[in-house]
Structure formats: C-alpha cells, structure tokens
Symmetry: C2
Subunit: 442 residues, 2 copies
C-alpha cells in the first residue's frame, strides 16, 4: 500500500461508515465518505419523529459538520450504483470515484417479503421521509375520525396496526398508546382518542424474540397494561386500504383499519447484490454480505463490508444482529485495520464487545439485557435514556433533545405532531373520503 495518497472510500454515513471515517482521523490516507443524504441519522430514535415527539433535525447531524475538523476527510453527496473491481472505482449515478480501500456500509431498507404492493398502504420506518409520512398518517387518522359521522368507520380510523414486534414495533405501539391516552386527551370534541385500538402483530410466538424469554414476557405484560392488543403467532396475509388480513393457525380474519405501519422486515441495500456481482461476494439467507473475520470479502482484502448489511459470524456462531453498537464497533475496527495495513502491521480479527441490548416501551418502561443482567420497568427505561443520551451527545449538539424530552415528559405534549406533505383533501385515509354532510350541525 502506498502511503499518503492511499484513498479510502466509504459508502454510507450511518453508524458504521461514520465511525470508520472518524477512526481514520490521524491515518496517513485520504478518506471520502459518500452518502445520499447530507446528514447522519440517529436511527434508534426515528420512531420518536414518526410519533411527533422529536423533529427530524433533532436526530440528524450534518455529515460535513461532524467531519469538519478532520482534514483528511472529504464528504461527497452521491448515490452509488455499482462497483468496478478492475479499475478500482465506485460508480455513482453521476460520476466515478477511484479507491484503494473500499468500505461498504450501506445499511438496510424496508422489505415486504415479496409483497412490495403493501408498501404504499403500510410504510416502514427507515428514512426521515418515512417518519414524517407515518406521523402524517397517524395524526390524520384522528382528524378524519373527528369528522366522520359513521361509527363503524370511526372505529376503523381509530384502529392502528403495527406489524412486527421487534424493538421498532414495540417502540411504535408504546408511543401510539401515549398519543391516544395522553397527548390527545381533550383535543377532540366528537371522538374520544382514549378509545383508539392499538394492535401489535407478530409472526413468532412472542414479542422481542431476540431477548431472553423472561424479558419478552415482561415486555408483553407492560404492553398489555398500556392497553395494547398483542397478537403473536399471527401472520399477515394481505394488506389493503381499509383492512389487514391475518392468519392465526387455521383461523383467517380481517381487521378494519386505516393505519398500518410496517416494522416486520428489512433487507440489505441493493449494494449487497452488487457486491456479489462485482466481487463474487457470498450472501447469507437474508441477503446480507458474508465477511471474513477482518470484515473483508473473501479474495478481496481491499473491500470491507460493515454494519447492518454485513453478515459477520462471531466465533462461528450466528451472524451479529443489525444494531448500532455492532455497526459502530465494526467502523472503528476497520479504521484500525486500515491504519495497521498502512503501517504493514498485522491486525487481529474483529471482536464484538456485547454490552447487551434494550427496547423501550413507553414512559418509564423498557426491558434491558445488559451484560448478564435482565431487568424491566423504570430502571430499564432510565438506563435506556442515559445510554441514548450518551450516544447522541457523541454525535454533536444534542443537549436540546434532552430538554425536548424532559419537556414532553412533564407536559405529555408532542410538539412535533405536524401533518405536512401532500394536501389531504378531500380528506381520505385509506380508500374513501368521509361523507360530506353538515359536519358541524349543533
């Protein structure tokens, strides 16, 4: 490897890519970070944007600002379409970039298991635009219910279905329950938001199935205490405007609803398949890119794949889960790997330091599995809060987030509950508009 002019190109400014870029701060190389967006998104809090607690800017850090003082780092707003292994180039939709080392950390996108037509009815939660669209649908459903004279249609409008009981699904129903029971209390004159039904559908037999069983049960109990209807071992067979069809064992039933949120599946960025095409990378059953113990592609030590889209088998076991801590640690690792390679020194394989995981359910309630401790309730929630604040502070200026949270907590308010985007008139949520009669006769 030639020093100084060695060019590391990083694709993706999420936790993995940004950590890698920062870990190369003092390395004798040039770094180019390519992302489609001009900001790093603190994805673990995106559900709070979707439910009106935070604004997008609260959880976004401009990439240029984060890397401003890192002289060897260059940010490029661009969309990567392909790789050219022969010329050693990344091909964008509008240009090319040559690399010596290529780090691909392009993350995941929503995945509907072959039912892409469900996406329009049932948005997932991956981008800022996803979040504001979900926010729009949630608050618009209450608005439409307020105007709807037909009780059956009011019921469908006040039924919210979240598909998938992983951390995101659990966080979403928890927040929905707070919206219905606290935030919107007294805001309407013709409906009682307290009567909203919130359903959480899950194919496996328990919620948060990646947690130990006792924590799943704790979480389920906390959810039910908040009035959330859990439907486990339940498979979605159809989603249409106005209803979700589910199968439980042999029983098929239909749930009338105007708001369905998809939290059931993600798949790697299309760049995973492109890595297979270009470099012969092997993909695992979920489409993630299998990597060597040093995060490189077999036969291509110059190509490193990290973060959610990588399938890293830890000590021969199951692939590591797609979580921010894994991504950040892999980012720091490849930074170290490149520095060592530039100094012609060997580097031990990547080791994941597992501090545990947690999921938040709502005000003062969460479950945590930290080291070998398992706990729930208020303590877990406070731990969650502290850890997230620590992470956020790392990425910038987010004292304000804490204040916004404190404010929301004490006032039960959600200041960011704006309905923005396309005009909703005539007011339709789902298939048909409310009936036009005198809407406010006394």
């Amino acid at each position: 490897m030639s020093r100084n002019n060695h060019h590391v190109v990083i694709v993706g400014g999420g936790f993995a890519g940004l950590s890698a870029a920062r870990a190369l701060k003092r390395a004798p190389c040039r770094v180019t970070l390519i992302d489609r967006r001009n900001f790093h998104l603190f994805q673990p809090l995106l559900y709070q944007v979707a439910t009106g607690s935070l604004s997008p800017a609260n959880i976004a850090s401009p990439l240029r600002k984060v890397l401003k003082s890192q002289a060897n780092a260059d940010v490029l707003l661009g969309e990567v379409q392909a790789f050219d292994p022969v010329a050693g180039r990344v091909i964008l939709s509008d240009g090319t970039v040559s690399y010596d080392t290529l780090v691909v950390a392009a993350g995941m996108r929503n995945h509907y298991f072959g039912h892409d037509e469900w996406e329009a009815v049932s948005p997932g939660l991956k981008t800022v635009e996803d979040a504001t669209e979900i926010r729009r649908r949630i608050f618009l459903a209450f608005e439409a219910a307020e105007r709807e004279p037909d009780p059956q249609r009011v019921e469908a409008l006040l039924t919210f279905v979240v598909v998938g009981a992983g951390p995101t699904g659990v966080e979403l129903v928890g927040a929905l329950s707070e919206i219905a029971h606290d935030t919107l209390k007294g805001n309407f004159r013709h409906i009682d938001p307290d009567k909203a039904r919130i359903l959480l559908l899950e194919g496996s037999p328990r919620v948060l199935s990646m947690f130990p069983e006792d924590l799943s049960h704790k979480a389920a109990a906390q959810l039910e205490r908040r009035g959330i209807e859990l439907m486990t071992s339940t498979f979605v067979t159809h989603i249409a405007p106005g209803s979700v069809t589910v199968r439980q064992g042999e029983r098929v039933s239909s749930i009338p609803t105007r708001t369905v949120i998809w939290a059931a599946g993600v798949a790697p960025s299309p760049l995973a398949a492109e890595l297979r095409r270009a470099f012969g990378a092997e993909l695992d059953s979920r489409g993630r890119v299998k990597v060597q113990p040093d995060c490189s592609l077999a036969g291509h030590p110059e190509v490193l794949v990290i973060g959610d889209m990588a399938s890293f088998s830890h000590r021969g076991g199951d692939p590591l889960p797609g979580m921010a801590p894994v991504a950040s640690q892999q980012g720091r690792y490849v930074g170290r790997l490149v520095r060592r390679r530039l100094g012609a020194r060997p580097c031990p394989p990547f080791r994941y330091f597992d501090a545990g995981s947690m999921a938040v359910i709502g005000r003062g309630s969460a479950v945590a599995h930290v080291f070998s401790l398992r706990f729930g309730g208020r303590l877990a929630w406070l731990t969650w809060l502290l850890i997230h604040l620590m992470y956020i502070v790392e990425y910038g200026n987010r004292v304000l987030i804490f204040l916004q949270w404190a404010f929301n907590y004490f006032t039960f308010n959600r200041a960011a509950r704006l309905i923005t985007g396309k005009a909703p008139f005539p007011l339709t949520v789902g298939d048909d508009p409310p009936r036009g009669s005198d809407l406010r006769s006394s």
Copy 2:
C-alpha cells in the same frame, strides 16, 4: 341573534383566525375553526426554517392544543372551497358547515404577477413545505458546487438571488450571508463557501420601502457590510433554470444562478374572489377584500374578513399592512364584536394600535420603528428578539426555541440544515447535472 346555539365559523388558523377564536372563549356561542393544516404557523420565523436554523415544529403550534381547554371551540381540518350565502353554509371539498357568523381569515399566497411559470424555479416562502424546499435548494447548491469541476458552473451554483427587499427578502439574504460566511466555514474541501455571491433584487429605489427612508439606508448599509449585493430599481423580466434576467433602466442583463427565492409578491387566498362572487364583496387593487370599519362586508354584517386578506382603510387612509400585529388585533376585535352583538350592545369600529414594525438583518443587526423611535443595529436586534419571544411564548411551549437560538448564536451552527424530500440524483440544481468524471482524484 339567538344565544348559545349561535355558531361562529372561522376560516383560517393564522394570527387573525386563532386570535378571534380565543377571544370568543367565554362568549355564549359555538366556535368552529377550519384550517387546512393541523397547526398554527408562526410565519414571521418561517425564514429561519428555510435557512436551517429552526425545525418546522419549533414554529408550529397544534391548533387542537392551543384550543384544548376552550370548551366552546371545535377545530375542523378542512379545505374551504366556496360560500353559500343563501343557506348560510361554508362549502368544503368534502362536506359543509352552517354558520350564523362567518369570519374569513385565509391569508395570502405567493404571487408571481402573471408569471406562474416562475414558481417552479423560484419558490416563495409561505408554507412549511415552501421552507423545507428552499432549505433543500440552498444546501444542495453548495453540495453540487463541491462536486463541480467547471469554475464557471461553480460560480453559478454559489450565486443566490432573492427577489424582493421587503422584510422577508432582507431576512433571507441576511441568513444566507451567515450560512456562507459562518455556518459552512471549513465544511467543504473543494469550494470556499465564503465566496458565495448573495444578491437582493428590488424594483423600488430602496430596501424595506415601507420603513422611513433613514431606516432603509441603515438597513442597506448593514446589508452591504455583510457582503450582500443590493440591486434596487431593478426589475426581474425572466427567471429560468440557470439564470435571472433583470432590467435596470434601459440596461438588460442576465445573472447566472441556480438558486432563486421569490419574496417579491403575495396575493390574497382565492377565497377573496369567492367572497366577491358569493357576497358581492369589493376587492382593492391588490385583490384584498374591502371591509367596513367593523371588519364586516358591506351589506353582510354577518360576514367578517380579517388579517392579511382584508383591506381595512384605517381612518380613511391606506389599507393596513399585512402584519401579524394587525391580524391579531383584528382577531381580538371581531371576538369582542361578536360578544357585543350577542348581548345586543353596540361596538365601536376597529382601531389599530400601531406599536411599529421591525425587520431583522442578521446576527445582532436589525432596524426598528417603534412608536416614533427609529433605530438600527444591536439594540434593534435585541428588541426584535424580545418581541418575537414574547409572541412565541404566548402560543405555547417555546422555551426551546430560545435555547435553540442561543445555541445557534454561540456555535454559528444550523442544526436543521437537512436536505430532505425528493432524491436529487443524478445531482441537478437548475438545468443540468455536474459532469461525471473521477470526482475525487488526488
């Protein structure tokens, strides 16, 4: 008038409409406030959203929250299309609402003087979506410049043109100058944002022409000190992707630019023309609805028109300007008028209490005309800050805005500088994409 069941329908939740609703809090009547959005927008700070200082939610208050504890008030999300004077009904796109008293406060929209085709190239600043679109264009222009190898095209990308030197135009160029000279300092590797050109075009001979002449001169001097190029007595004859054509006297010239923001004209909501059709209302030369001394329509005492769309001739003089204080005072006035009418008591005509006006130019600089005092600079800026904070606090929870401002002020940061919305790839700003070559050769 019948008591208790008397129904006041207010169209528009801006300063005028919302003040009217609140002023009817203890009145023996029902109040229905209709708005297309579920929030009141603090429009005087919208330029701070467009320039990445604040998030939309920072300047929006959910209407339902503001009116939550007002038992006689009902909020309706809806779009008014017409009025039916015979049946006494407001006609929405999806229903109708009967009124006894009708208050119309639908405000203004962008107006391009017969050149509607300019709108796509040169967005105005009226809605939250306008603001995030302008924000997107500003920050995308810098991103595209960073990637552009051709120096002439870089120059066009770094040229920002604001059309119209009223308060909004002046505020926008002031903020643009801070973005270029402070916020983005050191953020780029291939361009120097400091070299951005910021132009302010104005048809009349001076900026802020509604202010006394000495304040206009003060403002112009402050703008020029910030490197803003003022072009007064300058008329825009054409706006196309890539350039603005202007005429100064006999001289016609073209300014290559990729970012044009329209702050030159607003016109009343289409509901002004609908009031003419339905009630025979008279419109003034700018299309605003002429009202009686009690804000009612001639021949229709039950129809009150207030806020920016009303043409209220104060003591026989020029119509009052479209400003938040006028709108708020008119709102409170019609609240009082309706209460008096319901008590069968007479009400004196509306009187505007003119506390003055001000325009902010940037960090620590503004001009103010308060009572008979005229002043500029830091004192004017502090006055502006205090008054706006007072107003914002009135509408809710906005301690956070103050903290965000304080934070921005001391760090020169703009945390809300997100490029969101439609994907910009291949990267185009204006007519054509940057040339695709190796974008990061060493």
